[in-house]
């Protein structure tokens, strides 16, 4: 370690002591302590409701009116907690930068990027508009926007999410701040773009000696990128220390749990390892067979090929994963499989029976064997219905059994997802996200279908909740012999649960095969890019 490095690591920029924040009468952050060293990256990690965003807002002086703060946050001699707004304004932007979560909502949609960039550039010392413009264009170039002039003239809707986030990062680092607060800067972006944005942040930090306070729910990303970790739960610091140490040997129960639950960090968690279910032999017919399916939207020159000749087979009792980024056509494929949309070409068959080109009654019969679990359990359950009625709906609609046998089936389905009698009369609004997804799974299972389509079933949930749901799904598959079609953008998760995988891009199949094979020996460049984007603890 050189003398210079020594100085950097010991020199602290931000010291937070006993930070307590309450909204109204409810205290959400209870006495949090941590420090951010000059030139270091500190990741504050926690699940929803852990208070991590509140801490970011407190540091930025952006807490809403009516919140009470105590404790101190010493930033190079100024206490950010007690600093009057007048003085704070000279710090914000100039010395403390902020990168928001969703770049799409952070910019004004009716003004050009350039006009908004000039506002940010007013924080620099550049004397004239021309000089400011030059500075902005230079920083745009630096953050990897290939055509800065075009970006300058564009409106926010003309740029992709990744480009917008680059614009915001560029404008944040433009006034050369000492500290940048990044609140989940990549969670609204696709995985490959996430990796590039994080790389960029890391470069800029090294180049300009910026300290980074990185707020994230993603332990794997934090482990890969941060120097120090602050693990937060319910507004209390559970554990903190150098990332590598917290990672190798977590001291607290919660940090251990988090580490075990993050798919990227324990890839073999749900692998039984004893049976290779993919090699069932040619005499074992495919349960779901999708061949040459295509779906186009629009006409003429403006045709969008959402799905363009996708084929794959799924064997009974196995899990097949459809992987791709947004716009890859995975959702459209699933909707066609369920008969919610009609393919323009190709054939989809379930158990030898074609899904399309049949009567409504026949489609209904196919659907009995084919149930869907939606991505977002907050919208997929009717808020006015009680849980027992939601779960019983498929039984009632297909008129299966007597009233008593239906009630028993509902109880059994709820039991199998780990919800007891008490939940029967609750409504979705009284349940947590994980509990809601359990109800949705119970609804999908109550008909005893052979195939369950899981459309990103855990992407709206916290990682510990996700682990519970994935554990449940694996158990149910083992017990009931279900066939899963698992749609996801999370390769680490796919690796944990799937037997076979199809990688989609722009509506086409890029690569297909057994998970082991695709993950260990990817044949296509795009698959390699996707795999590289999976964060790995250094």
């Amino acid at each position: 370690m050189t003398v210079l490095e020594e100085r950097i690591t010991t020199d602290t920029l931000l010291t937070v002591r006993g930070l307590t924040v309450a909204y109204g009468g409810t205290e959400v952050v209870h006495g949090v302590d941590f420090t951010v060293g000059r030139g270091r990256t500190v990741a504050v990690i926690g699940e929803s409701g852990s208070g991590k965003s509140t801490i970011a807002k407190a540091v930025l002086g952006l807490l809403p009116a009516g919140s009470t703060v105590s404790g101190s946050a010493d930033f190079a001699g100024d206490d950010l907690v007690t600093l009057p707004d007048q003085r704070f304004r000279t710090l914000r932007g100039r010395r403390i930068g902020f990168i928001p979560q969703d770049p799409a909502t952070a910019l004004n949609p009716v003004r050009t990027i350039g006009s908004q960039a000039l506002e940010a550039a007013a924080l620099t010392d550049a004397p004239t508009t021309e000089a400011r413009r030059a500075a902005v264009l230079a920083v745009f170039e630096r953050v990897g926007l290939t055509d800065p002039e075009r970006v300058w003239r564009s409106y926010p809707h003309e740029l992709s999410g990744g480009m917008l986030q680059r614009v915001l990062i560029g404008l944040t680092v433009l006034p050369e701040p000492d500290l940048v607060v990044a609140d989940e800067p990549t969670s609204a972006l696709d995985v490959t773009i996430q990796k590039r944005i994080l790389d960029l942040l890391q470069q800029l930090r090294a180049e300009r000696g910026i300290s980074l306070l990185f707020i994230t729910h993603d332990l794997a990303v934090a482990a890969e990128r941060a120097d120090d970790l602050v693990v937060l739960r319910d507004g209390v610091v559970e554990e903190q220390g150098p990332a590598a140490e917290v990672f190798r040997a977590p001291q607290s129960e919660y940090a251990r749990l988090l580490r075990a639950d993050v798919p990227a960090l324990s890839p073999d968690r749900y692998r039984s390892g004893d049976v290779d279910r993919t090699d069932a032999g040619p005499d074992h017919p495919a349960h779901i067979s999708v061949s040459g399916v295509a779906r186009h939207y629009g006409q003429g020159d403006r045709t969008v090929r959402a799905v363009d000749g996708v084929s794959f087979d799924v064997r009974a009792g196995t899990t097949h994963a459809l992987v791709g980024e947004s716009g890859s056509g995975k959702t459209t494929t699933v909707r066609m499989l369920l008969g919610l949309e009609r393919p323009d070409a190709g054939v989809i068959a379930v158990d030898g029976a074609e899904v399309h080109g049949r009567s409504k009654a026949e489609l209904r019969r196919v659907r009995r064997q084919l149930q869907l679990v939606y991505q977002n359990p907050f919208t997929s359950l009717d808020p006015t219905w009680q849980v027992r009625r939601i779960v019983g709906e498929p039984l009632d609609r297909f008129r299966i059994g007597t009233r008593a046998s239906r009630a028993a089936a509902v109880r059994e389905a709820l039991e199998s997802v780990g919800l007891d009698e008490r939940y029967m009369r609750r409504r979705p609004t009284d349940l947590s996200g994980g509990q809601r997804q359990r109800v949705a799974i119970a609804r999908a299972l109550v008909l005893r279908p052979e195939v369950v389509v899981l459309d990103e079933p855990t992407s709206a949930l916290d990682v510990t909740v996700q682990a519970g749901i994935i554990g449940l799904l694996t158990r149910l598959q083992r017990e009931l012999g279900l066939t899963y079609l698992f749609v996801s953008h999370d390769l680490a998760l796919v690796r944990q649960v799937a037997d076979t995988v199809t990688v989609l891009r722009h509506g086409r199949v890029v690569e297909s095969g057994a998970v082991e094979q695709v993950f260990h020996d990817p044949q296509h460049e795009y698959t390699r890019t996707l795999l590289d984007a999976v964060p790995a603890a250094s």
Binding site: E47, R368, T379, D382, P394, G434, Q435, T464, A467, G471
Partner: protein, 288 residues
């Protein structure tokens, strides 16, 4: 590993824990007061005899145009009739006609909105234009036109008021239906084997009715006002009926006895304000 899977872990994330999401059921005092006013009005219309021993149609001409006193709370009119008794006896017809008007607007408008929002396509286009026409004519004018063609009766005034309220109900019901129809849980119901009618009546309607109902309550107040205005203009029942609007109208010929105008007017204002307050409270409660 297998032990780990069989013990199912139910984790709750604090942000969505039950307590925070449940509505806090504290009724503000003004709402309680509004309910009290409406209960009195309702009792007046159901059992007017209990609240006043005096006749609403025959009076003592010797005691005409007396100011409010202990014997005559609202004073007496030009025939010596007790004004309080006339207000109380006029309540039934005023309130009932307002309810009839709202019922017409709610049912007809609600059905139009539900149909166009759920079926869409040409049904929506057709019904949408009908609603446009209704909206293009000022509501009160429309009511006057309708009541003129139907004949001057309070019940006709109520029907006219109801028809002029259809458009607002239809628009709101359509918007709410569209919103509920696009929800994921409606599609989930289709996948569970549910028919269109099942989705409409079990999923869309229960999720769409709340704000329409709040509008209905709000509309009771407006309807009382419109019907009173129509009665004031002479489009309602003729005297000796004692609709609130009619009382104000006949009172205005006696400037020396201002209570003849103020007493029934205050009753109207209090009723309408109470209904509005409750409607606003309902809408807020529905949103949280």
């Amino acid at each position: 590993m297998s032990a780990d899977l069989t013990t199912v872990r139910v984790t709750t994330s604090p942000a969505v824990r039950t307590g925070k999401r449940r509505r806090r059921q504290v009724v503000p005092p003004t709402v309680l007061l509004s309910f009290a006013v409406l209960v009195v009005v309702l009792l007046w219309s159901l059992a007017p005899g209990v609240f006043t021993g005096q006749s609403a149609v025959t009076g003592d001409t010797a005691a005409k145009l007396q100011a409010p006193s202990a014997a005559h709370w609202f004073g007496t009119d030009y025939l010596g009739r007790d004004l309080y008794a006339r207000v109380v006896h006029g309540t039934a017809s005023s309130v009932t006609s307002a309810l009839v008007a709202v019922a017409i607007g709610l049912v007809v408008g609600g059905l139009i909105g539900l149909a166009s929002g759920f079926l869409r396509g040409w049904v929506d286009v057709l019904l949408g234009r009908v609603v446009d026409v209704l909206l293009a004519i000022p509501g009160f004018l429309l009511a006057v036109v309708i009541v003129s063609s139907l004949g001057f009766h309070t019940i006709n005034a109520a029907v006219a008021t109801g028809i002029s309220a259809i458009a607002a109900f239809a628009r709101l019901a359509r918007a709410e239906t569209l919103k509920a129809r696009g929800a994921t849980f409606v599609e989930a119901s289709t996948l569970a084997g549910g028919s269109g009618a099942h989705a409409l009546f079990r999923h869309v309607l229960p999720n769409a009715y709340r704000s329409v109902l709040a509008l209905a309550v709000l509309n009771i107040g407006t309807s009382i006002l419109v019907i009173a205005s129509l009665a004031f203009l002479g489009y309602g029942d003729a005297p000796p009926a004692s609709d609130w609007g009619l009382l104000v109208a006949s009172g205005k010929t006696y400037p020396t006895a201002p209570w003849l105008v103020y007493a029934p007017a205050v009753v109207i204002v209090l009723t309408v304000l109470s209904v509005n307050r409750i409607s606003r409270w309902l809408r807020k409660a529905g949103r949280s």
